[in-house]
Every structure is written in structure tokens, then in C-alpha cells.
């Protein structure tokens, strides 16, 4: 009788390890393929140069700038709203009609396809609010897209902060807002940051919504009212049209490296912040 659970465990361990290995192989294959094909293209001329001949030659600097602008602005807009929503849902209310509506709103928003965001962003921001194809329109659209992710992960993170922590804060005379800002949020930060990273990743990678709101102009954007082509859109156009495969791979590789850098940066930040509160 005592042996069976352990045997089962070993079997399970083996199975899970295998599946994990399989998953990692797939994921690494994708990265490896892009890397192998893309590395030769990553020269300084490519990274800092301007595109020539519709992207067939030259570099991709405008797309890099565009991607950074777009993603950062989207996060800046979405994070306060998202974390605020999560805080409100967990700290200030019990289950009521209002919370159900809010939650339903966030969940439903998560399921809206990116193409509909693209449509919506196009008609509302580009046409109706006269922003034209612009970084602003793109960022606003992206912000709405990543909002549910940030809300959900922040909510999960805040929920897991033990009530005891809050009790201690109240017992020391802290007000609700003080408790939230000084105790709850710092402890929920890892989870919140997961949501932000996922959101950032989504912004950098999004194509459908961005094409219809930020446009696909290869010019160097100089303000948030300029249209811009992000790296993801550039890759899509290069690859689909067969304009320049090497550059397509180079762009894709740069995208992946960027995400890596973003994640690394976020983790360093995370480490520094949570160390203070351990």
C-alpha cells in the first residue's frame, strides 16, 4: 500500500516532465528558427538605419521607435485603470450587482477579438475623434485591450495578500487607503507585474488592432499624432508580401529580443521592489 502512491508520483513526474520538455521544445524551436535565420541581419545599419525601397533594403529604426512609443503609452494608460479596478473590486465592495457588472465588463472585454478592437479603434479614435492614424489612437486601443489582463492578474494578486497583513495595518491605526498603498499593493506587486508584463508583451506583439489604428506608414514618427508602423506590423508586411525574408526574420528576432529585455528589466525591478518588503 505504501509503494503505490510513490510509484504513481514517479509516473506523474515522468509524464509531466515529458510534457514540459515537449512544450519547451516547441517553444525553443520557434525561437531557434527565428534566431538562426535572423541573426545575420542584425547589424547596426539594420537597427539604426532607415528603411529603403519599401523595406527591401535598409534598416528598421522607425519601427523600433514606433513600437516603444506605442507599448509604453498603452501601459501608462492601462495600468492605473486596471490596478484601480482590481483594488476597488477586492477592497471596497462585496459581491453585488455593481461588482458583477464590473467583473462581467472586464471578462467580456477579454474575449473581444483584436480585430474588433481594431475596427472600434479605427472608427472611434481615428475617424470620429479625428486622431487620424496615429500612435495615440493605437495606444488607446491597446490600452483597452490589455485592461482585462491587468485587472484579472492584479485582482488575483491582491486577493492572495493574507488578510492578516491588513489587520495589522488597521490595528496600527492605518486608514484604508494607507493600508492599500503601503501594505496590500506592495505585497501584490509580483502578481501585478506579471499582468503588466503580459500586457506589455501583448502590446508589442499586437498586429491586427495596430494596423487599423496606428497605420502602416514607414515614416519616423515624431509625435503621438503621427502614424507609425510597429515591428510586428512590419514583420507581417515583409513576410506576407515576400518583400525581404532576411529582414523579416531580423525584425522578428529583434521583437523577441525586445520582449526578453522588457521581461529582464521587469524582473530586476521586481526583485528590487519586493526585497524591501520581504
Amino acid at each position: 500500500m505504501k509503494r503505490r502512491p510513490l510509484t504513481i508520483q514517479r509516473l506523474v513526474w515522468f509524464l509531466l516532465a515529458l510534457l514540459t520538455l515537449f512544450t519547451l521544445t516547441i517553444l525553443f524551436f520557434i525561437i531557434g528558427y527565428i534566431t538562426a535565420k535572423g541573426v545575420p541581419t542584425l547589424t547596426p545599419e539594420f537597427l539604426f538605419g532607415m528603411p529603403e525601397r519599401m523595406g527591401k533594403e535598409g534598416g528598421i529604426l522607425p519601427t523600433i521607435v514606433a513600437t516603444i512609443y506605442l507599448a509604453l503609452l498603452a501601459i501608462v494608460i492601462a495600468t492605473p485603470l486596471g490596478v484601480g479596478t482590481a483594488v476597488y473590486l477586492t477592497e471596497y465592495t462585496r459581491e453585488s450587482a455593481l461588482t458583477r457588472i464590473i467583473r462581467f465588463g472586464a471578462d467580456a472585454l477579454a474575449g473581444v477579438p483584436s480585430i474588433i478592437f481594431g475596427l472600434f479603434g479605427f472608427i472611434l479614435f481615428v475617424i470620429y475623434l479625428k486622431m487620424g492614424w496615429s500612435i495615440l489612437a493605437g495606444s488607446l486601443t491597446l490600452a483597452v485591450m490589455i485592461l482585462p489582463t491587468i485587472i484579472r492578474t492584479s485582482e488575483e494578486a491582491i486577493r492572495t495578500v493574507p488578510y492578516a497583513y491588513r489587520e495589522v495595518s488597521y490595528s496600527l491605526g492605518g486608514t484604508k487607503s494607507q493600508t492599500i498603498l503601503n501594505v496590500v499593493l506592495p505585497n501584490a506587486l509580483p502578481g501585478i507585474l506579471t499582468g503588466i508584463i503580459l500586457g506589455l508583451g501583448r502590446s508589442v506583439a499586437e498586429t491586427a488592432a495596430v494596423i487599423f489604428t496606428a497605420g502602416s506608414s514607414l515614416r519616423m514618427p515624431r509625435s503621438i499624432f503621427d502614424p507609425a508602423r510597429t515591428m510586428a506590423v512590419h514583420f507581417y508586411i515583409l513576410a506576407r508580401e515576400g518583400i525581404s525574408m532576411p529582414r523579416a526574420y531580423g525584425t522578428a528576432l529583434l521583437l523577441i529580443i525586445s520582449i526578453l529585455v522588457i521581461n529582464a528589466f521587469a524582473y530586476i525591478l521586481l526583485f528590487r521592489l519586493t526585497r524591501r518588503f520581504r
Partner: protein, 267 residues
């Protein structure tokens, strides 16, 4: 912690303000939108024009011929691009032919079939002929690839070949010339149609009714699937649009297009 959040909130308006630039004035910017077939060429021309006229901004968007036509009709863009002829309802727009192009039927390099008639084309794309055997090829099911509904290339194809017949329900649909070419290049049983300017050595072009697509046959209109790339404006073009149009139709502009595989509209 509170400081962190305060900073975050404070950054919001600061970033907003610092990112705000001025919008370009109408006299120095041009928006061109429409056919994805024409788009890469328009972008190239825009690039050259901007090199010669610093301070001018030209932005080129895709979206498809129909979208471009609608955009210019509604004054959302200055110039519309179309790779199909205008319908009677659209005739109120001014049109300029900037290049000649053809719709070429492509098959896999190893496909032995070399020629096809217009009637056979209609049967293949409507699903009546389903096997390459019927065309003199190997015993394989034909994989038909067509473009999406709003495509000017498809519209042109429908007009010249389909004559009201529906495309086969199980035809694969792709949204760009390049995508069609990529698929045909790797699938031995595929057939698709793309712009003449985009045919390269990875695919094999079919002759239609015995006529091989080439610059001479397209210009002479003996190749049945010849078409024009159009630039459209709503009424008379303003100064900047006029200047750009002149550039496109100039010898330099035309040569640029010819170098990329298109055929000059102005010989």
C-alpha cells in the same frame, strides 16, 4: 510605495504633454490609401518624392482597392489606390493610370501544365474541374487559392474570368499577393493568381489561351488578364497631390515602377 504610485500617476500627464507634437498642416502632408497590390509601389514612389522634397510627408496605407475608393470618396485620404476598374457608381472620381499590370496564373515549379484557356480557368476556380488530370497534369486534386472579397485583384479576376460564377466554396482565401505566391511555391497541387509585378522564379506562370504574360503582351492587351493600377482623387487634386501625381507619371517615376516589375503607363 506610495511614492511609486504617485510618480506613476504624475508621469501620465507629463508624458502626454511631452509626446504632443504639432499635427502636420494639410499643405505638406498627403495620405494615400487603397489597394494592397499598388501599396508597395506607392510607398516606393513616396519615399523617392520625399527625398526630393524635404518637409513633405506622404503616408501610404493598405486596406484594399474598395477601401481606398471609399476612403477617397469620403475625403479620408487624398489619393486612393485601385487595382481594379471603377464601377459605374464610382465613376465620379478622377482616375490616373500610373502603371500597367497583369493578373498572372501561377502554379508550382514542378507542375507540368503550361497553358490554360479562359473557360478552363473559370471551371477550375468555380470547382467544376477538380483534378489536374483534366488539364493534362498529374492525378492530383487541385488546390484553388483566391484573394479576399475586397481585393482589387480578385475583382478584376472575377470580371474577366468568372463572369458571375461563384468561386468554389472550398477555395483557400488569402489576403495578399505575396501570401498566394508563397503557398503556390510550396504546394505542388496549387493554383492561384497574382500581380504580374510579383512573379518571380519560385513559381511558374501559365499562358492563358496560348498567350504568355509579358510586358509586350500586356501593353498590347493581347494577354487577356491585363489591368491598370489607378490613382484616384475626389475632384481636382490639390497642389501637393498634383505635384506627386506629376512625379509618378514622370519618366523618373515610371522608370522606378518599371524597375520593380511593373509596366509603364507612359511609355
Amino acid at each position: 510605495m506610495r511614492n511609486f504610485i504617485t510618480i506613476l500617476f504624475a508621469l501620465f500627464p507629463v508624458i502626454f504633454i511631452s509626446f504632443a507634437g504639432c499635427r502636420r498642416s494639410a499643405e505638406t502632408s498627403l495620405t494615400i490609401a487603397g489597394s494592397t497590390s499598388v501599396q508597395p509601389f506607392a510607398e516606393l514612389l513616396a519615399e523617392l518624392y520625399m527625398q526630393q522634397h524635404p518637409g513633405v510627408e506622404i503616408n501610404v496605407q493598405g486596406g484594399g482597392s474598395s477601401a481606398g475608393i471609399r476612403a477617397v470618396q469620403n475625403c479620408i485620404c487624398d489619393i486612393g489606390m485601385s487595382s481594379r476598374p471603377l464601377t459605374p457608381e464610382e465613376q465620379n472620381l478622377q482616375q490616373w493610370t500610373i502603371a500597367l499590370d497583369g493578373i498572372v496564373l501561377i502554379v508550382h515549379k514542378h507542375n507540368p501544365v503550361r497553358n490554360i484557356t479562359l473557360e478552363q480557368l473559370q471551371d477550375v476556380f468555380s470547382g467544376k474541374i477538380r483534378n489536374w488530370r483534366a488539364l493534362g497534369g498529374p492525378d492530383q486534386k487541385i488546390t484553388v487559392i483566391t484573394r479576399e472579397e475586397g481585393s482589387g485583384t480578385r475583382g478584376c479576376f472575377e470580371e474577366i474570368v468568372m463572369h458571375g460564377a461563384h468561386f468554389a466554396a472550398d477555395a483557400l482565401v488569402q489576403d495578399s499577393n505575396g501570401a498566394v505566391r508563397e503557398i503556390v511555391a510550396s504546394d505542388p497541387s496549387a493554383i492561384g493568381y497574382i500581380s504580374f509585378g510579383l512573379v518571380d522564379e519560385r513559381v511558374s506562370a501559365l499562358a492563358v489561351n496560348g498567350i504568355t504574360p509579358s510586358e509586350s503582351t500586356i501593353v498590347a492587351h493581347t494577354y487577356p488578364l491585363a489591368r491598370r493600377f489607378l490613382f484616384l482623387t475626389n475632384g481636382e487634386p490639390d497642389a501637393l497631390a498634383r505635384s506627386f501625381l506629376d512625379f509618378v507619371l514622370s519618366p523618373e517615376g515610371q522608370k522606378t515602377l518599371a524597375d520593380e516589375g511593373l509596366i509603364k503607363a507612359v511609355p
